[in-house]
Structures are given as structure tokens and as C-alpha cells.
């Protein structure tokens, strides 16, 4: 299949598995800062609720920003309060002539009161909670009063929501744009969960393949589409079941909801939005005092050209901008760092072969268990005569000793890379460092008695900063067997030796042995 997307080259191979999924937003911004030589520190914040919230700081001298997800602490508290409240958002935006849907907060849930208060709005309508998150409690396309009251009761009684917004429904597609300063950096829209037929495979098979691809994409990792009642219902609407074979190129919708975490696909839509809409998006962020940046939700109808800004998210996930399934990724991390650290614009220590990246396992191993309160990354390495190599060799040396030897060399010569135990006694080193030092190191390996069959080859993939030892040999079930077998062997040998020493002839010949020792001297 032809590649329909173009992702950021700097993130190719530089996002470790541990940072896949939700953490991509955090990692990619921290990475952008790190590769410009800025100091990056991760912190653990446990709320009283026990909930873990990653924080990280980026600093250059005295200029220090602390980020919560994608939002820096320079975004004012007032701005956050405004954006959480959808009615306030509407008022602030309308004030600055940004297109917004007309609407209001219901002051009473009494039916006649409602009728009175919304008499300036035309059906169809939308209702939603005042401070809801995600799509919870949002009901669109309400066509008459009966439907309206039914749904208001549903929100009130079933979802326990009492502050409800009613607004006009606007025809069009949902877009999410990332705005910082006076620029729209990128926009995407979501396709509902779907598969595209190839005329050969069943929907079930197509979905399986799609999920396999999704888990390999940092942005949609662990967000599989599972076949459930909702999917079956949706298929039935289209006269399909999971075993049907759609024709080639056919778009088969699997769910109505299109948020990415339930299986929707982001596609780049930056070019679809005309300039006047983009201008309005920038204006929207500017209308909220102290906001600086945000993820703006907008509805835009291509056929009529009409648009309306629905809400602003102060700490949007940016992974959908970075990993669209179709179209171009937009460098949001770069835009963020450019904006807050303009003096670093254009600096990039990672434009080398190999690129460096930093590990993210520490979050799980040191931050989540609350051992460490904070964790500062080492500076991005800088080496003008950089070279990287893969070195394979064979050694029977004890693993700990070998590891220590290699680690010490790495420290001394400021190498970065990994030592991997591939199979029993088989090792592989990936290394980046000063070219002369690397050559010297390889010579050193070759000269060691306990190392043999040293083979080197070029290596161009990204290198993890620091020194890591990976044991790919563990998990071998043979190990247990071997241990008990060797134990037996050793017991047998020991027995044999005691038997020998206890034997009459050994004791009898003691004088002989003494004599022999004397002769030898």
C-alpha cells in the first residue's frame, strides 16, 4: 500500500516504546527542547487523589517553563478557567467577533422557562454540559422540543448534569487546530473508525490488519478497535456483518463516534481550512486573555463556507497532529519551543547521523513508584567527529564483569549506546562517539583475551543517550533446567572428591605425597 502520510523526520525512531500513546505529546515537546540544548527535567506530582500527573520543565538559564501535558505555566489561571467554561468561552470569543454558535446556559430546567429562554434559537439544536470533557453528554441534531426535553432529562437524571448549554447546531465537519501566537500550526479532522475494502478480505480480517498497524504507530498505540455490539450495529445499518467482504476501495464505517481513542483516524486537514477560518482561529486564542496557545475545535462547512468555533482546549493532545493516517504531520513541538525559547530557533543538535534520543523508562521505574521526585535529562551530546557502529562479538566472560568493563569505557570516552546480550555468549554493541575513540575502543575489545570474533559494521539508526545493557537472552525456560542439572553435577563431583580423600589408599599414601612435595621443591 502506498504511504499516504508524511511524518516528522526528527521523530523517526526517536520515540521509545515507553512513550507511545498518550505520552507522545509530552515526549515530543521535551525531545524538541532537549535537542536544542535546553535543560529538561521530569517531575512527579501525585495529587491527593493519588492520580499521577506528569510535569516537566524546560529551561534555558533563568527562563524556565513548567508544562502540564502540552500547556506551559505561562498560560494564565484565568485563561484556563474561561476555557473550562464553555459559556464563558463563547462570550469572550463573541466579544472579539469570532464566529461562535448562538447559545446559552439554561438558568432553569423548567420546560416553559426553557421555551422562553431559547426562543431566539432555531432547530436543530445541540445540548451539552457546561464544563464537560471529551464528548460526554454532548447531544447533537435535536429537531424539536420533545426531543430537547427528553435529552435534557436524560442529562439531568442519568448523567447527573445540571448546568446545561443549549446552542444552535451547525452543519459541517469537526476540525481541531493547534494555534500558538498568531499562527495555526496544524489542523486535523477525524474519520470515524473504518476499514477500506480490498475486494478479497472480510471486515474482520481487514480490521485485524488495521489494528496491527495502529499499534506500531506511536500516536495510536494501544488504541485498537475491538468488535463489539456498537460495531455490529453500525455494520448492520450498512447491511454488513463482520464476515462480509467489501469491494475494493469501499469505505466501511465501524462506529458513529469518531474520537481517535475509540478507533477513529486522524487525517491532516490544515490545507482544507481557508485563510479566513484560520484567522478566526488565531483570533479565538487571542480573545481569551493570557491564553497564548490552545487546541481550537471548529466546525467548518466546505459547501457553505460557514464556520463556528466551539471550544478551546488549553492542554490538547498533539499526537494526532504528529501521526495522521493521511497527509502531512505538522511540527507542533517545534512551534512551541520556537515560541517560548525564540533564541533557540534553528538550533538542532540532533541533525546528525545517528540521531540521539532519550529513554523514557524512568517514568515507570523511578517516577511512578515515587522513588524520585524529579529526573533531569543529561545534555544532548555534541561531538563534531561523530561516528556510529554496530559491534558484534563473542565472550564467555561473566556478564556483570563484561557489562562493567564496557560501561566504564562508555563513561570514560563519553560514548552513547547499548550493550545487548543477544544469545548465550553473543553480544552486540551499538555505539556513537568520537570516531578516533570508537576505533580505539574496538581495538581494545579485539585485544581482550576473553573477547573473540569481533565484527564491526556501520550503524545509522537513532542511538539512545547514555549506556544501557539489554538482556535479550533472559526468559529462557532452559535456564531452570540447566541450574538444577548443574547442581546435580556439582554434588556428584564433590561427593567423588570426598570419597577420594577419604579412601584408605589416599590416607595411606599421605607420607608419599609429602615426600613428593619435598622432591618438587
Amino acid at each position: 500500500m502506498k504511504k499516504e502520510y508524511e511524518w516528522l523526520p526528527e521523530l523517526n525512531g526517536t520515540i521509545p516504546n515507553e512513550a507511545f500513546g498518550y505520552a507522545v505529546s509530552v515526549y515530543s515537546i521535551a525531545y524538541e527542547a532537549w535537542r536544542r540544548g535546553l535543560t529538561v527535567s521530569f517531575k512527579n506530582i501525585y495529587h491527593r487523589s493519588g492520580k499521577f500527573e506528569p510535569r516537566y520543565s524546560i529551561s534555558s538559564g533563568d527562563n524556565k517553563l513548567v508544562f502540564t501535558h502540552t500547556r506551559p505555566n505561562v498560560v494564565s489561571k484565568e485563561a484556563i478557567d474561561i476555557c473550562v467554561n464553555k459559556q464563558k468561552t463563547r462570550e469572550f470569543l463573541a466579544e472579539k467577533n469570532v464566529n461562535v454558535p448562538q447559545g446559552l446556559v439554561l438558568s432553569s430546567l423548567n420546560e416553559s422557562e426553557i421555551k422562553k429562554s431559547i426562543n431566539h434559537l432555531d432547530f436543530p439544536l445541540v445540548i451539552k454540559p457546561l464544563d464537560g470533557k471529551g464528548g460526554r453528554g454532548v447531544i447533537t441534531g435535536i429537531d424539536d422540543f420533545k426531543e430537547l426535553f427528553d435529552n435534557i432529562n436524560y442529562l439531568k437524571n442519568d448523567l447527573n448534569i445540571n448546568e446545561i448549554i443549549v446552542e444552535e447546531y451547525i452543519e459541517g465537519e469537526d476540525y481541531r487546530a493547534f494555534v500558538i501566537g498568531d499562527k495555526v500550526i496544524g489542523a486535523f479532522r477525524r474519520l470515524p473508525p473504518h476499514v477500506i475494502g480490498d475486494g478479497k478480505n472480510s471486515i474482520k480480517e481487514l480490521l485485524k490488519r488495521k489494528n496491527q498497524i495502529r499499534v506500531k504507530i506511536p500516536g495510536t498505540y494501544n488504541m485498537k478497535v475491538t468488535i463489539n455490539e456498537e460495531v455490529k450495529r453500525e455494520l448492520a445499518k450498512q447491511d454488513y456483518n463482520i464476515n462480509s467482504i467489501p469491494s475494493e476501495g469501499e469505505f466501511v464505517r465501524l462506529k458513529t463516534k469518531n474520537n481517535v481513542s475509540s478507533g477513529g483516524d486522524p487525517i491532516d486537514a490544515t490545507q482544507e481550512l481557508p485563510e479566513d477560518v484560520k484567522k478566526d482561529l488565531v483570533q479565538a486564542v487571542k480573545s481569551v486573555p493570557g491564553l497564548l496557545q490552545g487546541g481550537v475545535d471548529v466546525i467548518y462547512d466546505k459547501s457553505t463556507g460557514r464556520h463556528a468555533v466551539l471550544e478551546i482546549n488549553t492542554r490538547p493532545s498533539i499526537r494526532n497532529h504528529l501521526y495522521p493516517i493521511k497527509g502531512k504531520a505538522h511540527p507542533i513541538p517545534r512551534a512551541i519551543i520556537d515560541y517560548y525559547f525564540p533564541e533557540t530557533t534553528g538550533i538542532d543538535y540532533s541533525e546528525t547521523t545517528p540521531r540521539y534520543y532519550f529513554d523514557y523508562v524512568f517514568v515507570k521505574e523511578h517516577i511512578l513508584n515515587n522513588r524520585l521526585k524529579s529526573f533531569t535529562l543529561p545534555d544532548h551530546p555534541y561531538e563534531p567527529n561523530l561516528i556510529s557502529r554496530k559491534i558484534e562479538f563473542y565472550s564467555k566472560q561473566e556478564i556483570d564483569k563484561l557489562q562493567k568493563f564496557v560501561r566504564r569505557r562508555f563513561h570514560k570516552m563519553l560514548f552513547n549506546g547499548e550493550l545487548n546480550l543477544v544469545k548465550k555468549n553473543r553480544y552486540e554493541i551499538t555505539i556513537a562517539g568520537n570516531s578516533q575513540d570508537v576505533a580505539y575502543f574496538i581495538d581494545q575489545l579485539k585485544s581482550k583475551k576473553y573477547i573473540s570474533k569481533v565484527k564491526e559494521s556501520p550503524y545509522t539508526k537513532p542511538i539512545r543517550v547514555g549506556f544501557t545493557f539489554n538482556d535479550h537472552y533472559i526468559g529462557d525456560s532452559k535456564m531452570l533446567k540447566k541450574v538444577s542439572q548443574k547442581d546435580k553435577e556439582i554434588r556428584k563431583l564433590k561427593k567423588e572428591i570426598t570419597k577420594m580423600k577419604d579412601s584408605k589408599s589416599w590416607k595411606l599414601t599421605a607420607p608419599l605425597r609429602k615426600l613428593k612435595n619435598k622432591i618438587n621443591k
Binding site: 493519588g50 513508584n369 521526585k373 529526573f375 543529561p378 560501561r407 535456564m479 541450574v483 577420594m500 599414601t509
Partner: protein, 543 residues
């Protein structure tokens, strides 16, 4: 070694030290003291922050550079030395000749002696030695840990030999020649014009029991030393030197000393070479303490550090005391873990000095600690430049241990408990036991929360079904944070351990095989073949 011979600090038990040795032990003990008082503790890599300006050495291996922060001030430490000791003081301390000169200027008694450039003719050195008179000591100018130090040289011939040896070991070092002073080798630790610890260093020695040979006594003593955090790696070694030394008294390694008789094995008092640290803080004369304080005062910027003094005291009367060396970056282990006497809390004195406002804090969170190697691991792997240890809960610590039976082995359930622990501000661990049960330890400053944790077991009935909860008081030490001990990492560690065992077994087998081969090949074995055949026949007949 009698158990009651020494009295160590309750709050620094060997069991939490987990094999931390030498300079790392100093760093850990001070860091732990500050951390327990609620100061923010950070570990740093080489040249990080203020360490760029501080005199440090051999710091490629992390765990020797740390900082403490009280909300306003940060103090940086390299091993046992903090940033209130000036770099100049450190440089002077490193240069034995310079130290001596300054001390002399301040009328502090030092051993008579002189430094010779490394290219000085041997004859000149010998000539000088004769002039000041034997016995003498020679040592390299920049040495440490007693390496290349030759003490108690009695004759010209011995000196000739010793100079050759020293030059072979340290070809580029200047040589210091000093008059040997008979007496006790003391090390005093001074903080802010007060002597807070003092040990006497006895040369390696054993005490007879009337049955064992010197060789056996050394082995026993070395085994005892392994139980002392300071002495783990300071075994009595160098058989050759010992043989020579006891040979002078007509002894061999096979001699059996009578019960209670102390036999010295060397003249060198260095702990790292087998010497014994013995607490003497309460018994040394005040004049000696004064001398130590004056010595530090004579060196500008040396606010705390160790002073080595030779003291000749006969029948309680101080005959002579001379200052040998000043060490601004001294090891504290000997004072913290003496073989005899009380351990003196230098870490406390140091943190009091650097953060006087925390001095009145009574620490009652002694059972909390942080795992040293866990917090410096990211630095060892160079994946981090600074790590900040999660702050210690300050106050009285309440601890409970729960054994929970039922279907409670789900890893997700265990992680849920971690969240529950953080909700309640608790630290501890959950450990999956065989058969699906689990063990949970929680600790915190709020007794209600520690008790309330029991309710947390029932909050996730989908993943964990509790049958019984056995609750008991927990008396052990608790690591900061909350560990889910059945996580993949732990399993991998288990397998790694297993493989280590395997490697060890394999090398044991090799050794056994070798021994067997040796036995088989031994001449007598071959000679006795006929006897063995006869023996075999006899056995058969007996049956």
C-alpha cells in the same frame, strides 16, 4: 569480636546499607541524614551545577556528588566534604609538604622531615635519614590510603630497599622522609571548631585463643571484618609483609599465640590495609583535641575535616603529639563503625553545621530510607544528569504489615493499591506471595491513614477478592515510594540472579574438576594403584 565491644548508631544499621562502601558510604550517610530532616536531596553527575567549581576527583562513578536544599540555600557535597570547605584548603590538604609548612608556621608540632624531588640520588636521602636518626618513615608526596608508605625503617639497608620499592611503585612522585614517632595513630574529626569524633588506628593484629594459628586467626578476623560496613573490603592481606614483620619476632603464620595475647602483624595503621578503628573520643587528652582544632584553624577555609595525629602517651601523661596529615575529604566509616567503642555521628554534626536551622529537629523517621543504587542508577547509565529523591515524610512514622489472602494476585490490582497508598500519603510495597496471597507494608506519618489502608483492599472487587486480612505492626525499615514487587522488572531480576548463580556453579564445577584431576594425577595416587585394587577386593570380600 564481641558484640558488646562496639555500639553503633541505631539509625544507620548495616542492613539498610546494602553493600554501600567506602566513599559511597560517607556520601550516603550524610545524604540520608539531611534527607530525613526534610531537606531536598539531589544526586549529580560530574561537573553538574556547582560541582564544576569544586575540587573533586574520581567522580566518573556517580554516588559521590550530592546536594541538600532547605528551600533557600543549597549546599553541595563531594563525599564527606561540603562546599563550606574552600578549594584552597583542599589543595593544601592534598599536598603534604604544604600542609606541614603551614602547620609549622603556626607552631604546631609536626614530625621532623623533608621532601625530596623524585630524581634525588638515593645516597642523599640516606644521608638525610642518618642525620635525623632512625627509625624513619618514607612515603610518596601525593599518596593516599597508605599506598607506598614504608614505616618504621630501622636501618640503612632497609631504607635502601624501601626507596627502591617506593620508586618502583611511584616513579614520578617526590619522596617524603620523616622521623618515625612512636605512639598511637589517631584520626580526629573536627566540625566547626569542635572535635566530634576520634579513633585510634591499630595496625593489623590478631588476638590469640591458645588453639588457633596466626593464619587461622587472620582468617577469622577477616570474616568478622566482612560484617562491618566500613571494613568489608579492608581485609588483612599481604601475607609477604606479615611474614616479614612477625618474622622479626621469631613468629611464623603457623605459630599459635597464647590466649589473650595480641599479635601485631604490621606497623601500618591504615584501615584499608587491615588496621582496626577504635573509638577514643572520650579518652584522649584535651590537649590533643585542641591541637586538632588549631590545625584546622591554621588552614584558611578548612571548616571541617580530619586530622591525623601521632600521640605518645605514657601512664596517662602526654609526652608528645605531632600532626601528620590533614584530610578535608576524609572517610568517615571508621568513626561510624569502629571495631571497639561508640560510633560518633559525624553526618549529624555536618548537617547541623550546614543547616543549623534543622539541628533542633528530632528525627523520628529513622525507619525510612531510600535505596541508594536505585536513585543513582539513572546517573550510572548516564540517562540523567540530576535525580531528586522523593522527600522523606518528616515526623513519627507508623507502620503496618498486612497479609491478605484470597484472589489477590492480579498485577492491576496491585498497581491500584499503589494509587491507594499515594492517596493516603503512604510508602511501602506490595509483594505477591505464592498461592495468590499478598504481603503489603505501608508506612506514613498519619496513623489513621496507615490503619485505613486496610479498607483499600476491598475497593477493587473485580480484580482482587479478599478473604482475610491479617494485620500486624511492622518493625523493619521502609523504602521511600511504593513498589509493586511482582512487576516484570522484578521477575527479570530473578532470572538474572538465577543466571548469575548458574555462572557461579559453572565456575565451581570447573574448580572441582580441576581438584579431581589434581588428585588423580598426584604421584601417590598412581603409586597407590595396587593398594586401591587390593582395597577394592577387600571391600568385595567384606560384602
Amino acid at each position: 569480636m564481641n558484640e558488646q565491644d562496639n555500639q553503633w548508631l541505631d539509625h544507620l544499621p548495616p542492613e539498610i546499607l546494602d553493600g554501600i562502601q567506602g566513599n559511597y558510604l560517607d556520601s550516603y550517610a550524610i545524604a540520608l541524614e539531611g534527607w530525613r530532616r526534610g531537606l531536598t536531596l539531589k544526586w549529580h553527575v560530574k561537573d553538574n551545577e556547582k560541582f564544576k567549581e569544586m575540587e573533586t576527583w574520581f567522580v566518573d562513578e556517580p554516588g559521590q556528588l550530592f546536594s541538600l536544599f532547605n528551600g533557600q540555600r543549597t549546599h553541595y557535597f563531594f563525599r564527606s566534604r561540603g562546599d563550606l570547605v574552600s578549594n584552597e584548603a583542599v589543595q593544601i590538604g592534598k599536598d603534604k609538604t604544604a600542609t606541614k609548612q603551614i602547620l609549622k608556621q603556626h607552631n604546631i608540632q609536626v614530625p621532623e622531615g623533608k621532601s625530596f624531588p623524585n630524581n634525588t640520588a638515593k645516597e642523599d636521602i640516606i644521608q638525610y635519614a642518618k642525620q635525623i636518626g632512625f627509625p624513619i618513615v618514607i612515603k610518596p608526596k601525593d599518596g593516599s590510603l597508605g599506598k607506598g608508605v614504608f614505616t618504621y625503617i630501622l636501618s640503612e639497608g632497609e631504607l635502601d630497599f624501601s626507596i627502591n620499592e617506593l620508586k618502583a611503585q611511584f616513579p614520578h612522585e617526590d619522596i617524603i622522609v620523616e622521623k618515625h614517632i612512636e605512639g598511637d595513630d589517631l584520626r580526629l574529626y573536627v566540625v566547626d571548631n569542635q572535635v566530634v569524633g576520634a579513633i585510634k588506628r591499630l595496625p593489623p593484629n590478631v588476638t590469640g585463643d591458645g588453639k588457633s594459628t596466626i593464619r587461622e586467626l587472620v582468617r577469622q578476623k577477616n570474616n568478622d571484618r566482612k560484617k562491618n560496613p566500613r571494613l568489608i573490603n579492608c581485609q588483612i592481606k599481604n601475607r609477604k609483609e606479615i611474614k616479614e614483620f612477625i618474622g622479626r619476632k621469631g613468629l611464623t603464620l603457623d605459630s599459635i599465640p597464647e590466649a589473650g595475647k595480641q599479635i601485631f602483624l604490621s606497623k601500618k595503621c591504615n584501615i584499608s590495609m587491615g588496621g582496626d578503628p577504635i573509638d577514643v573520643l572520650d579518652s584522649i587528652p584535651n590537649e590533643v583535641k585542641e591541637l586538632a582544632i588549631q590545625s584546622l584553624q591554621s588552614i584558611p577555609g578548612l571548616t571541617h575535616g580530619a586530622v591525623d595525629i601521632l600521640m605518645n602517651e605514657t601512664n596517662g601523661e602526654l609526652k608528645k603529639a605531632a600532626v601528620l596529615e590533614i584530610n578535608p575529604t576524609a572517610q568517615l566509616g571508621g568513626i561510624l563503625f569502629p571495631i571497639k567503642g561508640k560510633s560518633r555521628d559525624i553526618p549529624k554534626a555536618l548537617v547541623d553545621y550546614y543547616f543549623p536551622e534543622t539541628a533542633p529537629i528530632t528525627i523520628d523517621n529513622y525507619s525510612m530510607y531510600f535505596p541508594f543504587y536505585d536513585v543513582i542508577e539513572p546517573l550510572i547509565n548516564r540517562q540523567s544528569a540530576v535525580t531528586t529523591v522523593t522527600p522523606a515524610p518528616v515526623g513519627k512514622i507508623y507502620k503496618k504489615k498486612y497479609i491478605v489472602t484470597g484472589e489477590v494476585s492480579n498485577i492491576g490490582y496491585h498497581r491500584g493499591l499503589r494509587k491507594q497508598a499515594f492517596e493516603r500519603g503512604l510508602h511501602g510495597y506490595v509483594l505477591g506471595l505464592e498461592g495468590g496471597d499478598m504481603e503489603v507494608v505501608v508506612a506514613g506519618t498519619d496513623p489513621e491513614m496507615v490503619d485505613d489502608f486496610e479498607n483499600g483492599f476491598y475497593e477493587d472487587p473485580e480484580r482482587g477478592q479478599v478473604e482475610y486480612v491479617y494485620k500486624s505492626n511492622f518493625t523493619g525499615y521502609v523504602n521511600i515510594g511504593f513498589e509493586v514487587k511482582r512487576e516484570l522488572k522484578t521477575q527479570i531480576d530473578e532470572i538474572k540472579q538465577m543466571r548469575k548463580d548458574l555462572e557461579r556453579i559453572e565456575s565451581d564445577i570447573k574448580k572441582s574438576e580441576k581438584e579431581r584431576r589434581k588428585l588423580e594425577q598426584s604421584l601417590s595416587w598412581k603409586v597407590s594403584t595396587p593398594i586401591r585394587i587390593v582395597g577394592g577386593l577387600v571391600k568385595k570380600v567384606k560384602k
